[in-house]
Symmetry: C2
Subunit: 168 residues, 2 copies
Amino acid sequence: MGAVGKLAPKPSADAAAGVRLGALRHSIGFLLRVCQVRLYDQFYERLGDSDLRPGEFSLLWVISQNPGIKQGVLAQTLAIKPAHMTKTVRRCAARGLLHRVIPEDDRRSVQLSLTLRGTDFVTANSHNFFGPTAYNTHSLTEEEAATLAHLLRRFCGLPDCEPERAAR
Amino acid sequence: MGAVGKLAPKPSADAAAGVRLGALRHSIGFLLRVCQVRLYDQFYERLGDSDLRPGEFSLLWVISQNPGIKQGVLAQTLAIKPAHMTKTVRRCAARGLLHRVIPEDDRRSVQLSLTLRGTDFVTANSHNFFGPTAYNTHSLTEEEAATLAHLLRRFCGLPDCEPERAAR
DNA sequence: CGAAGATAGTTTACAAGGAAATTAAAAAAT
DNA sequence: ATTTTTTAATTTCCTTGTAAACTATCTTCG
């Protein structure tokens, strides 16, 4: 999947540089979208050949940190709507990456845990998402990236620290 | 269109607060997505009844700041792929908000300008996107929001200032 | 104890967004 | 001057993500 929006400078990219944005240049909504598209492009540049889709790693990662987490709680955590969460979870289960368990004490809900294969998958792919070799490259310093992350958490209401106790 | 992801706290929202994120809590990619979804929800909360769609205002706004801008340049500026830009531009043209003009000196391209109706539309809707009454509410101070915007521009490579000359 | 209301996840249908192929036009190469 | 290559936008088809309706299950109420 080769994206039209390539990262190497092009004549038309130069043309975009001459566009006046006015107040939009300071609009967080607009800036979030542009950053999101850039990240998406970088994701496919690095991982386009793998069978990993955007968001799937996050899903598996959060399950690895919270074995037995309920599907609805996971959906809420990752800001994914229930319908899409159902499809994604079933796709990962079909690939043998996670277990779906219906608890006896609440047969409406689904509890999720990684399989050994899923754990290996998360371990093998972590370097693409965290640390200096992550797919999303940028020109910010470590301090600037930390400030950006802090402000984004503030913006969306996510705490800076892990909760005291794990969710069940 | 009532989003499942409501902003008022709910029992399941409390459950999400108890989830351990590990390194994901500091991942800019993940944080950008959560912020994006939150913005999307806020957009529909404020403007769900209107005939405005996400991104359409930005499109009209940039055209208002750059009359005669080429469609490809606009697409690049807003990080929208050409196919989608075609559909969105034609939809706005059908609503009488903009003119599509094929210049004699390059009949491949399309130049865009707002109609009077489009200009009125942008003027009438600006307060929903810029300033203290914008739809995207958050708890950041003005200084923090400015820093966030600055770091997002740094992240995606967008300059802090307007270009010296308008694009043709 | 049974009915009504709420919750959790699933299914279906649809809209948004984009890849790939296409068309039309301009620029570059021969 | 003609052919080839490149550019700009469009069309078609597909995937992703979600609203709405649905099913199954649990909780609350009378």
